[in-house]
């Protein structure tokens, strides 16, 4: 049998490289045993291998078999050792027939089907969430955005993880500057492992230490589509069930997908509620500190006396009380997030009972404080996007600090400071505190802004 020595080396080299792996398979097929296949069991679909590769090899001669293989989409002939290695690690099957070698696509992809979205629940409207498979995600998006202008650029990030990312944008609406900026930043990312959207978000953002998110991380395909139509850019990632949307401004984080379902006046009301919730959750604990320690004259007599009375048994200054209760609340939130579903209710019961009742009866915190903490906790969750909700959770301690040191003036000045900081921020060159990230002049985009 005439075989080239160079080629001999390819499959020998391959099996030498991979032989230590538990799921490594090397087989000889055909009546004359001169077809050789090499693949990784865990990455390939055994059904495909058996039906389309193993069985036909006994039913036809070599020439027919070679022709038969090359008709499959996703099957290619190559001699490049490096490429062969890469593809085998991806789940391709290396097939050697005489002197030619083929790569056959038999990838087995496991993912958790299309589920309904969990982190961004809405009342009415589509419930699909993005999955871990980029192909399916693109399917979900393309089905909702049937336009030839929807362009997809692919990239690979991660020296080890080799995560495929897709940059999606509407060619006619996208801002060229922003697109260039994003692409250049993506190309500069150099990491080993990329496993979540948040990570990538961190790598492509401007500043290392910042508190407000400048890109939306979403799991809703309809939000992606809506933002694409506004001229924004979506970054999809393989193995990650989330998409990144850029540029994103402050207002975008307070837009729920419900807003478009609701009647206009109702929608505005809901949006107003969210901003009020933001204000309350950020300032209420700080106001409590300021009112109890510095400026009790602002409140009505009754409330002042009520606070004074309920604080009478509390030994520590007001801000210690506030920080203590807020930390307890954070622990409760964090714990109920991480706890297994089966014992989840325990956290809420124990936390609710102990924090709500016992703490006041023991005189550790005042009654009013409990009300404030619950108001803060509830209004925090009014913010529809998690990234912003977490930011706000941190932000309120900043205000408490200034309220505890300077009273009401501290709150005013630190609020002004936060607004100034926000005004100075840019999301991929777009002013962060602007109402809408991209100008409405691009047609449809304006009308859809809630």
């Amino acid at each position: 049998m005439p075989t080239k020595p160079a080629e001999q080396r390819v499959d020998e080299w391959l099996s030498k490289q991979l032989c230590g792996l538990m799921d490594f398979e090397e087989r000889s097929l055909g009546n004359s045993q001169d077809i050789k296949i090499i693949f990784l069991r865990s990455l390939t679909n055994s059904d495909t291998v058996n039906r389309f590769i193993v069985l036909p090899s006994y039913e036809m001669d070599l020439e027919a078999y070679e022709k038969y293989l090359s008709t499959f989409p996703g099957c290619e002939e190559t001699q490049d050792k490096q490429q062969i290695m890469e593809f085998v690690l991806k789940g391709y099957i290396y097939i050697r027939i005489e002197d030619s070698s083929y790569l056959f696509d038999a990838m087995k992809i496991e993912y958790s089907g299309i589920t309904s979205s969990i982190t961004e629940a809405i009342v009415q409207g589509p419930n699909d969430a993005l999955t871990e498979n980029i192909e399916i995600n693109m399917n979900l998006i393309r089905r909702r955005y049937q336009s030839k202008d929807l362009k997809v650029d692919a990239m690979t990030i991660g020296n080890v993880s080799k995560t495929t990312i897709a940059i999606m944008y509407d060619d006619t609406r996208v801002d060229g500057e922003v697109l260039k900026e994003i692409k250049s930043r993506l190309s500069q990312v150099s990491v080993d492992i990329l496993q979540s959207a948040g990570e990538l978000e961190k790598y492509i953002s401007e500043h290392k230490y910042r508190i407000f998110p400048t890109t939306i991380v979403t799991e809703r395909p309809d939000r992606v589509v809506f933002n694409l139509s506004e001229g924004k850019i979506a970054i999809l990632m393989n193995t990650v069930g989330y998409a990144i949307i850029a540029p994103s401004v402050f207002n975008d984080f307070f837009t729920a997908m419900d807003d478009k379902i609701q009647l206009p006046l109702v929608g505005w009301f809901m949006k107003m509620i969210r901003y009020i919730g933001l204000f309350i959750t950020v300032t209420l604990p700080a106001f409590y500190v300021a009112f109890t320690s510095y400026n009790p004259e602002i409140l009505k007599v009754q409330i002042t006396l009520l606070i004074a009375g309920s604080r009478a048994a509390v030994p520590y200054p007001s801000f210690v009380e506030v920080v203590f209760m807020l930390l307890m609340m954070e622990f409760l939130i964090e714990a109920s997030l991480r706890l297994p579903k089966a014992i989840g209710p325990t956290a809420t019961t124990v936390g609710g009972l102990i924090l709500g009742q016992a703490a006041t009866q023991a005189g550790l915190v005042s009654n009013i404080m409990i009300i404030i903490v619950s108001a803060v906790a509830i209004s925090n969750f009014v913010i529809p996007l998690n990234m912003m909700a977490f930011t706000v959770r941190v932000l309120k301690y900043f205000l408490i600090f200034f309220a505890a040191t300077f009273g009401l003036i501290g709150i005013v000045v630190s609020t002004v400071g936060v607004v100034m900081y926000l005004s100075g921020m840019r999301s991929f060159g777009k002013p962060y505190l602007k109402m809408f990230a991209l100008d409405g002049s691009k047609g449809k985009g304006e009308k859809q802004n809630g």
Partner: protein, 382 residues
């Protein structure tokens, strides 16, 4: 890395230092909130007025404070209050002495009731009003009143209806609760302003202790720039309010053909003009009026259009008579609580001489009142 660690340490130390709040950091539960302040003058006796630092013992004052004891349980019906008082020869000194009678820091920021005892108001109120205006934590939106028999006694009255100490006084003096037409409501900033203003004199409501837990506020006191000069009766206080405010809610009686008609004012209006008469005298011309609804009549006469006309006319005539009497009485005291002088200064151009001119014009002021009361039928299903 080293730098980062140092930064962390600094931040940690900084945070920990917050726990050492110290004694200057006064939380709300370490303050005693003064809800009412009363000042009386005291007969001079030997051995009183300690801590006064000798000096001129021209007069002694007794300062009483009503302090709220905060109650944590809002379901409890009432809140306790304590009254502490101190005699000294000046108000700030008395307050300073009072500080050693309470366990918490005195906080005047919720002190919205400021009472002068009648005796004090009749001698000299300038010190008190000066102190109120100067003191940083007394808000100038407090209510000022004269108290009878003494301010301390009035402050000590605990109305059954009040849930926060001294709140009944705030509600009624500020007309936040009751809308009695007899209460002349004056903010302390206005009082202070009228004390120094040329062309307007202060007026204060009079709070009387009637029974152990009943207060009556329906009279008023007229001040010059220093002390009480005259007292207004309940009816006069109401007329004052009628002339001073728009939309006073009150009712009046009018007698017509032996039948007493009572009508309730829906709207009232009052304005005045200063006119020069031919003899060079100044005429204060009031135009008052309003829309009213008939409330009852003593003989249950069927009300018809013509009768309502007659009643309206009679009511207007009565108003003209009563208001003119009232104005003449005020003029007789030589005071100016309604601010005629202020108006004169506002409309005259001769800035240098206007004060002098007004002083000459005032004794010969004449008054004319035009009243226009429209009484309507409220409608009734028979």
């Amino acid at each position: 890395m080293r730098k980062c660690l140092n930064l962390m340490l600094v931040i940690l130390l900084f945070m920990l230092s917050l726990l050492l709040a110290g004694c200057q950091f006064k939380d709300v539960d370490r303050r005693a909130f003064v809800l009412g302040l009363a000042v009386d003058s005291v007969e001079k006796k030997e051995g009183q007025g300690e801590g006064g630092g000798g000096g001129s013992k021209k007069h002694l004052v007794q300062v009483s404070l009503k302090l709220a004891i905060p109650e944590g349980d809002p379901t409890k019906r009432s809140q306790e209050a304590i009254i502490v008082s101190q005699i000294s020869n000046s108000i700030p000194e008395a307050v300073r002495l009072l500080k050693s009678k309470v366990d918490k820091e005195l906080d005047f920021s919720h002190c919205k009731t400021l009472l002068f005892g009648e005796g004090y108001a009749k001698t000299d109120i300038r010190e008190m009003s000066d102190w109120i205006a100067r003191r940083r934590d007394i808000q100038l939106i407090g209510h000022v009143a004269v108290a009878r028999p003494t301010a301390k006694e009035v402050l000590g009255v605990r109305m059954i209806s009040e849930r926060v100490p001294a709140y009944a006084l705030i509600l009624s003096l500020g007309k936040e609760g009751t809308e009695s037409p007899f209460i002349v409501s004056i903010y302390s900033y206005n009082f202070r302003r009228h004390l120094s203003e040329i062309g307007a004199d202060p007026i204060l409501p009079l709070v009387e202790k009637e029974e152990e837990d009943v207060l009556v506020i329906n009279k008023a006191m007229l001040f010059d720039k220093q002390r009480v000069r005259a007292e207004l009766t309940a009816n006069e206080a109401r007329l004052y309010n009628l002339l001073k405010t728009q939309g006073l809610r009150t009712s009046f009686n009018v007698e017509l053909d032996d039948n007493i008609y009572t009508y309730n004012m829906e709207t009232t209006r009052a304005k005045f003009k200063l006119l020069k008469s031919e003899e060079g005298k100044m005429i204060v011309q009031y135009k008052v009026g309003g829309r009213a609804v008939l409330e009852d009549n003593s003989k249950s006469v069927t009300t018809t259009g013509p009768i309502l006309e007659q009643v309206s006319k009679a009511a207007s005539k009565q108003w003209e008579k009563e208001i003119k009497q009232f104005l003449v009485k005020i003029h007789g005291t030589g005071l100016d609580p309604l601010g005629w002088g202020l108006r004169y200064r506002a409309i005259s151009w001769n800035n240098e001489t206007e004060e002098e001119e007004w002083r000459k014009l005032y004794p010969n002021l004449e008054f004319s009142v035009k009243a226009d009361v429209r009484i309507q039928y409220s409608g009734m299903i028979r």
